[in-house]
C-alpha cells in the first residue's frame, strides 16, 4: 500500500496515490472509504474519479473528478471481543500471549463530498454540485499538489490579484492555501480562538498581505499586537502608529461628568448641576484662532498664577476643564471678598462663554471648588493612561485632528488603545469608526477601508453594560450590516466569541477559527457559523497553535490549514520571565561598574 504523500516525495510519486475503496452506501453528499492503516488523516482532501453525466440531460458521460474531505476516521478491530479485553485485564494477561487476533483492524474514513470538476481541471478549480452518488467500489486517491491547490483556491485561481497567501494545508504542507482578499475586506472576517492560538499572528499575516495591495487599513490595537508591523522591511513607510487621547471635548457634558466620576471622586448632585456650566465654559474658552487663544492663555495664567499655562498653552483636555473651574472658583471668591477688579474678570469670563458666572453665590464657590478637585484628579488619571498608551504605541503622533487622514492609499494606521480601560477604548473606537463610516456614507471619503478590531468582544459584546459599549455596538453593527455598500470592511478578532454580539458575528461572511477549548465558545461558534461543519467544530479543541479552519466566502470549501507566520512580531510575544530578570540584573551591574569607574576617575 503506498504511503501517504509527503512533501519530500517527488510530485510524480505523489500523484494518484491510492488511499482506499468506496464501501457501503454512498450518497451524493457522503461516502465511506475502506482505507489502509495510516494512509489518510482527518481533514485530508481526496479525489475519486467517476463516470457521471454532467448536469444537462442526455449529455454523454464524461470523466469527472469528485473531490471530498475526510471528516472522520473510524478504527476498530472486530476480531477482538470486548469481553476478552475485560478478561485480559482481570487476569493481567498480555493479549500477545494469547491466541487473540490483534493484527486486523478495520479503518473506515467517512468522507464529505465537496464537488466535482472535469478530470483535466479545465474548470479552473470551480466545483460543481454533485447530484448522483459515486459508484461503490471506486478507488479514492490523494490528488497531487497542483490539483489540490487549484480546487482549494477555486475560482479565485483566475483572480490572483485578490488571492492572499496566508496558509498551507495542515496535512499537506506543500500545498499553499490562498484566500479571497476581496471577501475579507468587503464582507467582513472574524478570527476566533482562545488566547495564544495564533489570532494576532493570523491577523497580522492578513494585514501584511492586504498592505502589499495598498488596501487602507485602520487597526484598533488594545495590546500593542500590531506595533511590530512598522518594523517589517517591506512595510517601511506604510505603517503609521498613533497614540490616542481621550477626546473629552467631543463628548456630552454628562459623559464627561461620568468620566470624572469614574476616574476621580464622585460628583455630588449639586456638582453635577454646575458641571454642565463649567464644561460648557471650557468648551467656549478654547478657540482655534491662535492669537486670540494666546491672549486667553495669558489671562488664565495670570488669574490662576500658573506660568505653565502660558508656557505650554491650553489644549482641549480635562485639564482645561479644571482650569476653568479654578477660574470660576477664584472669581466668585474675589466677588464675595470684593477683592481687586473682580467685576472686570467676571465680565470677561462671561464674554468668553460662562454666561451664568455672575449668578453664583459663596456656597456655589464650594461646589465649583469640589468640581475642580475632582476634574484635576480625573485629568491626572487620564494623563497616566495616555502615557502608558504612548509608550506602547511607540509613537509620538497623536491621532490626527481630521480622522479621515487615517485612511490613505497604502497606509496601515495602528491606533494604540493600550493603557485605557474598556470604556475609554470603546469610546475612542466609536468616535473614529463613526467619523470614518459617516464620511463614507456622505461620500466625503473616497477610498475604501477595512477596520481591524482586536479583542472585538470588548467593542461588540452581546450585552452592553455601559453607554460607551452601547455606542460601540451600534456603530459596529451598522458597519457589519451596511459596510459592504459603502466600502467599509471589518475584521473582528476575539478570544471570547461567546461574548460577541451574535448579529455582528453572523454578518461576517468569512471565518478563521483556531484552537478553542471553552465549550461555551465552541457551541456558540457552531451555532452562529453556518459554514462550519459538525466534524470541523469537534476538532477545535485539538488544533495546534497556528492551525485554523477556514470557512465561508474566503475559501472554496472549509479546510484545515496552518497559517503562515507573519513577518511582523507582536509586542506581547513574551520574553521568558527569568531571562528578563537576568538581563535586568546584568544591566544594573553594568551601570554600577560604570559609576564606580567614573567616581574613581574624578
Amino acid at each position: 500500500m503506498p504511503q501517504i504523500a509527503t512533501e519530500e516525495l517527488p510530485e510524480k510519486l505523489e500523484k494518484q496515490s491510492f488511499v482506499g475503496t468506496l464501501v457501503g452506501e454512498s450518497t451524493s453528499r457522503t461516502f465511506r472509504l475502506a482505507v489502509a492503516h495510516e494512509t489518510i488523516r482527518e481533514q485530508d482532501i481526496i479525489a475519486v474519479d467517476v463516470d457521471l453525466k454532467s448536469t444537462e440531460q442526455n449529455s454523454i458521460k464524461q470523466k469527472t473528478r469528485l473531490w471530498a474531505k475526510v471528516q472522520q476516521i473510524e478504527r476498530i478491530n472486530p476480531l477482538f471481543p470486548v469481553e476478552a479485553g475485560h478478561e485480559l485485564a482481570e487476569t493481567r494477561t498480555s493479549p500477545f500471549d494469547t491466541v487473540l487476533s490483534l493484527s486486523r483492524e478495520m479503518v473506515t474514513a467517512v468522507c464529505q463530498v465537496l464537488g466535482s470538476e472535469p478530470i483535466d481541471g479545465s474548470a479552473g478549480g470551480r466545483l460543481d454540485h454533485v447530484r448522483y452518488p459515486p459508484q461503490p467500489a471506486s478507488q479514492a486517491y490523494m490528488p497531487n499538489s497542483t490539483d489540490l491547490e487549484r480546487v482549494v483556491i477555486g475560482e479565485l485561481g483566475t483572480k490572483q490579484s485578490r488571492a492572499l497567501d496566508i496558509a498551507t494545508l495542515s496535512n499537506r504542507p506543500s500545498v499553499t492555501v490562498k484566500v479571497d482578499g476581496h471577501a475579507i475586506v468587503s464582507r467582513h472576517l472574524a478570527i476566533l480562538a482562545m488566547t495564544g492560538a495564533g489570532k494576532s499572528v493570523t491577523a497580522r499575516r492578513i494585514v501584511e498581505q492586504l498592505a502589499e495591495r495598498n488596501y487602507p487599513i485602520v487597526i484598533f490595537d488594545p495590546h500593542g499586537d500590531y506595533t511590530g508591523l512598522a518594523d517589517v522591511e517591506k512595510l517601511k513607510g506604510k505603517v503609521q502608529r498613533y497614540y490616542a487621547e481621550f477626546p473629552v471635548f467631543e463628548e456630552e457634558s454628562e459623559t464627561v461628568a461620568k468620566v470624572v466620576d469614574t476616574l476621580g471622586y464622585e460628583l455630588t448632585p449639586t456638582m453635577q448641576g454646575v458641571f454642565d456650566d463649567v464644561f460648557y465654559a471650557a468648551k467656549q474658552f478654547f478657540i482655534e484662532d491662535g492669537g486670540e487663544r494666546k491672549r486667553r492663555e495669558q489671562w488664565l495664567a495670570l488669574l490662576l498664577r500658573r506660568d505653565t499655562i502660558e508656557q505650554y498653552g491650553i489644549k482641549q483636555d480635562m485639564w482645561l476643564v479644571g482650569y476653568l473651574a479654578e477660574a470660576g472658583e477664584r472669581i466668585v471668591q474675589m466677588k464675595a471678598d470684593n477683592e481687586g477688579d473682580w467685576q472686570q474678570l467676571e465680565t470677561q469670563l462671561q464674554e468668553w462663554g460662562w454666561a451664568r458666572i455672575d449668578t453664583y453665590s459663596r456656597t456655589d464657590k464650594r461646589t465649583i471648588e469640589g468640581i475642580k478637585k475632582r476634574v484635576f484628579k480625573a485629568a491626572a488619571a487620564l494623563k497616566r493612561m495616555e502615557t502608558t498608551n504612548k509608550k506602547v504605541a511607540r509613537s509620538a503622533n497623536p491621532l490626527p485632528i481630521n480622522r479621515l487622514e487615517l485612511v490613505k492609499y497604502g497606509q496601515i494606521s495602528v491606533i494604540s488603545l493600550a493603557g485605557y480601560t474598556g470604556n475609554f477604548q470603546a469610546t475612542i473606537y466609536t468616535i473614529i469608526a463613526n467619523s470614518i463610516f459617516e464620511a463614507k456614507v456622505r461620500d466625503e471619503l473616497k477610498l475604501p477601508v477595512v477596520l481591524l478590531l482586536e479583542e472585538a468582544h470588548n467593542f461588540v459584546p452581546g450585552k452592553a453594560l455601559t453607554t460607551a459599549e452601547e455606542r460601540s455596538i451600534a456603530i459596529t453593527k451598522q458597519i457589519a450590516q451596511e459596510g459592504r455598500k459603502f466600502g467599509v470592511g471589518l475584521i473582528m478578532v476575539s478570544q471570547r466569541p461567546s461574548r460577541l454580539d451574535e448579529t455582528a458575528l453572523s454578518m461576517c461572511n468569512s471565518y478563521i477559527i483556531m484552537r478553542m477549548i471553552n465549550p461555551a465558545d465552541q457551541n456558540f461558534v457552531r451555532r452562529v457559523i453556518e459554514s462550519l461543519g459538525e466534524d470541523e467544530a469537534k476538532m477545535l479543541p485539538d488544533l495546534d497553535v497556528g492551525e485554523a479552519i477556514l470557512s465561508g466566502q474566503l475559501i472554496n470549501f472549509p479546510v484545515l490549514v496552518r497559517i503562515k507566520k507573519s513577518e511582523s512580531q507582536g509586542e506581547r510575544e513574551e520574553e521568558d520571565a527569568f531571562v528578563a530578570l537576568e538581563n535586568a540584573q546584568k544591566g544594573l551591574e553594568m551601570e554600577q561598574t560604570k559609576q564606580n569607574g567614573n567616581s574613581r576617575r574624578s
Binding site: 464501501v23 489502509a36 471481543p81 469481553e83 478478561e87 500471549d97 494469547t98 487473540l100 493484527s103
Partner: protein
Amino acid sequence: MSENNGQDYHLTEEGVREDLQRQPYVLMRLVENAFIVAENLRGNYFENTSKFIKDLRKKILLAKSGESDPIISISNINGANWQEVQGEVVTFIDGGVGQVEISGQIPILLRVGSYAVRTGERNLAEREQFGYYPVILGDLEGGSKERKDFIDIVRITAELLGGLSALKRTPNLRLLMFHGPLMYLMGNYAGHSPFTENDIDLFLRSYAANPQLASDLKNKFLEEARIQIYPKLAPGVDTDMIQKKLFDPLAWMAFLYQQLISEAKKRSPVPIIAGVVERGRLREFSEDVLLERIFVSLRKKNNQNYFNNLFGRTDLKTPGILLDRLAYTDAILMAMLMKPGQRSESWIINKLKGLRTGQTILTGEARATNMDWSILKDPLLGFPKIKGCYISVSDRTEPIRVEVFECLGEQQIEEAAKRAYLYSLLIPGYGFPVGLDVADKFAKVPTWLTNAYSKLIKHHLSVSLQKGEIKDAEMRHLLVQAIYMTHRDWLFRPNP
C-alpha cells in the same frame, strides 16, 4: 460454611436446584423439556431430575474415594494458563455457507477460513496469518445436489483440505483446531454421486502454492482407491470409476483424514488435531457411557427400577428409552455434573453407525450402482477413531465437546481439552475457544451481502450459477468479485 459442608450441600436436592438456577441455559432446556415430555412426567420433572442428579453426584463422589463402582470420572483441567502455551503455533479452521433466499434458502457458495497465530509473538506481521478460500457450489459437477446435505459434504471436504493444507505448510504447528466435530456422523452422507476430477481441482485450487502438491494428493488418492478401496467399495465398477477419475465423497474424505493423521505422525511432538463442538442436542455420551453404566450398576444392585420408581413409570428400561422420554442431552446432564474448569472422562465416539451398503448414481449414468461403504469403518483404510470429552467452561454456558484422533496418542485429548478451555476463558460469556470465532468470521458469508445480491441473482444468475450454466468467464469473475467485495475485505488483504 466449610468446604465439606459445601460439598454436602452440593449433594442435596436443594443444592442441585440452586446450581440449576445459576445455569440459566440448563434451566431453559429443562423448562423446554418439561413441555415436550409426556404429561405424566411433567408434574415432578424438576424435582425428579434434581433427585436423579443428586444421586448421581453422590455416586461419582463415592467412586472417587473408592467406595463404589465408578460411573464416570470427572477431573480438573490442569495447567490451563498462558505461560504453559507460549510460542505455540495454532491454526483455527472454519467453513461458512452463503445462502440466497430464492424460494427457500439456496446455498450458493461456501468459504473456508483459517486463522493461524503464534502465542507470545509481538511482531504483528509474524504473529498472525489469515487465509480463506471460496467454493461456488454451482461449479461442482459431482455430489447429489438435490440432497439437502450436499452442502455438508462440500463443507466437510473443504474444511478437511483447509486443515491438511495448514498442517502441511506449517512445520511447527502445535494445534490444528476445527470449528465443529472433528468428524461428523459419516453414515449420513453415504450415497452422494462421486465428485469428478474437475470438482477435485476446484477444491484443490487454494490447497497449496505449488500446484504439484495438489496434483500429487489427487493422484495418491486415485492410486490407493485403485488398489485398496474401490475394489471393495464398488466391486464391478471400480476400474470404471478409476478410469473416469471419480471420487467417491466418503472415500475421499476418509483419505483426507488418513493424510492428516500420517502427516501428524511424522512430527515430534505430534501436533494436536481437534474439533470443538458448541451447543447441540447430542446425547451419545449419555447414552453410550453415562446411562449405560448407571443401568449396569443399578442391575448389579437389583435396583433396575430406580428410574421407573423415580418417575412413576414402567418403560424406562434402557438408556435410549430414558433419553427419549425425558429429553435429556449430554449438555444438560454434563452441565449438572461438572463444575467450570472440569472435564469428563473421554470415550470413543461412534461416528460410523450408518456406514453400510447402499446405492449411488455414478456421474453420467442413469442406473444406480451398488456400493459398500462399511469397508470405510476400517480405521486403517477408512475413517479413523474419534475420541471425545466434555468441558465445562463457565456456569453461564453449556459444556463444549472436544474431539481428537484416538490414534495420535493418549496426550491428545488432555492437551486439546486444556487449550480449548484456556482459549474459552477469554470469552466466558460465549464459552467457546476464542480463535475459532476469528476463523468463523472469516468463513462466514455476511447475510447482508447475500441479501443484497439475492435480488440481483434472482433476476439473472442464481439458478444458472447453481447449475453451473454460466460459462462466461468474465461474468463469473464479476460475480465472484461482487460476492467477495464485502465490508470484510480488509480481512483478506495480504498481511502487512
